[in-house]
Symmetry: C2
Subunit: 561 residues, 2 copies
Amino acid sequence: MEFAELIKTAKVENVQLSCSGLPPIKGTLCITSHHLLLSSQPGGNGEQGTVELWLLIRNVDAVEKSVQNLSWYQTSRTNSSHQDTRVASSLGTITLKCKDLKVLQLEIPGMEECLNIASSTETPKHEAQGWMAALPPPIFLRTNCLRGAWRLSCANGDFTICSSYPPAVIVPATVDDNILKKAARFRQGGRFPVLSYYHKKNRTVMLRSSQPLIGPNRKRCQEDEVLLSAALDGGGRGFIIDTRSAQAAKQARMMGGGTEPTSSYPRWKRLHRPLERGRPLQESFIKLVEACNDTSLSMDRWLSKLESSKWLAHVKGALSTACLAAQCMEREEACVLVHGAEGTDTTLLVTALVQVILDPDCRTLAGFQGLLEREWIEAGHPFHFRCAHSAYSHARLKQEAPIFLLFLDCVWQLGRQFPFSLQFSERLLLVLFEHTYASCYGTFLCNSEKERRLCKVKEKTHSLWAWLNQPSERKKHLNPLYTYNALVIWPSVEPQSLQLWQGLFLRWIRSSQYLEEAWAEIQRLVTSCEDAPEGSAGCTLCHSQPDAAYPLTSAGTTNEG
Amino acid sequence: MEFAELIKTAKVENVQLSCSGLPPIKGTLCITSHHLLLSSQPGGNGEQGTVELWLLIRNVDAVEKSVQNLSWYQTSRTNSSHQDTRVASSLGTITLKCKDLKVLQLEIPGMEECLNIASSTETPKHEAQGWMAALPPPIFLRTNCLRGAWRLSCANGDFTICSSYPPAVIVPATVDDNILKKAARFRQGGRFPVLSYYHKKNRTVMLRSSQPLIGPNRKRCQEDEVLLSAALDGGGRGFIIDTRSAQAAKQARMMGGGTEPTSSYPRWKRLHRPLERGRPLQESFIKLVEACNDTSLSMDRWLSKLESSKWLAHVKGALSTACLAAQCMEREEACVLVHGAEGTDTTLLVTALVQVILDPDCRTLAGFQGLLEREWIEAGHPFHFRCAHSAYSHARLKQEAPIFLLFLDCVWQLGRQFPFSLQFSERLLLVLFEHTYASCYGTFLCNSEKERRLCKVKEKTHSLWAWLNQPSERKKHLNPLYTYNALVIWPSVEPQSLQLWQGLFLRWIRSSQYLEEAWAEIQRLVTSCEDAPEGSAGCTLCHSQPDAAYPLTSAGTTNEG
């Protein structure tokens, strides 16, 4: 059945739309197979002219409806007597809670219309189809930097070794595809260690994988050991950053998983830095959004709810762990392997953040898009599972978790602490958040490259990047203060230095309006300065000094054999 | 005894200065009667050249010292034998905790030198003398706006009616000086109701006073009743905003104070909005600064300490009460009288904030200085008592309370929510904070006009405003985004909309450095745009719509007779 056939009422007049902080709009509501469209009655909005709202139906996270029955007596006067007629009517209210955290209220005259509109927006949204365009060619790593020690392997070309990996991955040159195949069988989901990032400055590398399948009997895998040993390039040592606690990693053995024992991987030192993911992270997100939307709170209650949501603690944890990994590479000149259990969530959070911190190329608009392609999309973060619902949905949670949102929040914190060093603005991060949850582009569809090929996403959808990189759009997402900063940006991870991302979590509360306008004004100033002859001087303010160290040895560190 | 005679050690070599976030500096420490001066050894700081630190001794809030005895054996070789000589030395560390919340550490070789330096910085600081200049002429209210209904009274010319009022105050034209004298005896400290602000737009006025001396026997004072009735200008009604709870106002009767009973003031409706002051407010400040400086906290612990300091709740309370008073004038078109007990603390906090919210003229640099002169300095806020010590002092608290800092914080929140509407920048607010606690200018000296006359402050000191208004200084304190906004700026007072003022409370933590530089860069951009022909276009983004209403009736509202 086509979605359009599910639309029982396609058009209703005299619908009133309310959205916190904006004056209500009255107009005609239309519903199409993709959008809900409200256009205001001409002249019905004071001086505002015609207003149009376009809402992607896919953006709706939860629908709440209530119908109010109204009745009154209408008096009609005939020749000799008054006659009272009972008039009955009903007014339905639909509250649309969106995945981008916006809340809209529609007041719809007529019970039937109201219920029909509600059911149309509630209808499960299938994968969008029929769009025509192609993603830009996948971005490959700059292998020429790797001086022959690393090679591009196409052993996973048909996705049989690892269903969540892309067809091509970078591995040590001395390791042949047979070894990879055997090593893959020793890693959960086949995610054998692959190169994530090459740090040119001191020729260290960061790898990522899933957990090794040690199991209760402490199994070993020679090929996996060879692969990790080859990554160290003959000499040197490495750090394994396990994103689970030592205890959780140990307990994982009962389920067939585990972590690398020092006895089998003697040149690797293991550090445990537990990061939250899955259900607890989703619950943290829901709690935070609830607290943000509750305007009846006292200051004490708000701060206590902010604390108990634990969201900022997760931000701190992610940034600290990324700094630790970056420090291992930059200061200890050591190689790093990052993994948790599946290697598709906290692992990617850490490896992607490390690159923003260490590498100025990842801080440009193009470089950041490349980073997202490499470390999130191609690396197999299951966007379809993780971003099926946002914070409002009443649906039973299955695999939802805002791990990518947590990454965006960490990048926002970096941008706040280093206002010159990111080429893109907060606005880009907001757009990315929106498009991971509901998009008319194909970029964040499916859970892996394999699925995207099966669904023919590249053939059937447009790329978000192609849209973003149009000059007119690109301009809107740039940071007006950006100046290239070659240095590492070490963030302060003290709790006092981290802030709630108001631009996202309080976006639909009115007070951020002026801040957005302020940035627009700064942008305008910069543009007019760039046009002016004396405005072109670069800014020489960018420099970064190492901050407090992120200790390699702390309570969370163990290296049990 | 002159202060200079207390200086036992005026100069020490090889002193090391450390300050969080900056590399340590080694150099020569000199101590003068006003300053502590450290100049680095030439070439001793890598590429940095010579660095000088000037610290106003008056800025030191607390001094902590510790002496470490060192001894070692020095081997000297003679012809035939080795000889070990015991060498003893000591290294003293002085920690200077400043009123502007900066913390400096000095490592001083030699115990005696260390103790002498410490005692010189600990010496009680007398009122500074010997400076020569005059304050700008006092700013008088625009009485011509008041259309004959109000007059300037000089009845307090010799400070005998009210020692904390200025010589001239504005009162209803129909009330003569004899009535004022009698009404003053019915108000604590003689602070009879005077005009604070005239709201041109709808010709309403705001008055301020101290509490009436009702006492346990419900005393009345006809002159006070006449004065308040005259303020209502024949018709109209008024709101009394009492900055204490109804219960506290009632209890004050036991000590001779109280609040206006409806029976005696039938045209005035009383609203109670309790605001913290005195000891609890100072403790809130100390707790907040402690929490900010404790970098060992986890995120949970930090948020919980931020909450338990209650500072942000005080910010919310002050802004909400000011919004309520502003709403009474702007929307209810009613007159307002604000008072608590003494009328010198929370009263001035509210009346000053109301003017920033309502009046665009108070949002310019000159207008804001005028506001501070009128509503804080001339109105008799006891700066000398309130700002004797800041958050670090170990001295026994007497009358200290950061009520003016709370005002600056509220203004900062307004500036953050309306980034175009204040002509001055955060930097001005920081300078004002510093100068209220330790200043080489006379502006914030003493507790009242009377004291300032007795101390000949105007003859003996320079004015902070004269310094600030020099073109070179003025430029540094302007908001580059400012555009005149004629409208009322109604802030959002929801707890989610209020933020910790990081620029002040975390100023000496490294991470704000880049934010300051970002603003400097924006300033530079604006300046170069203003020079360019196309950069001069004004910004049309400024507009303000009424936000959520601040309800006139709520739990805190009573009007008992």
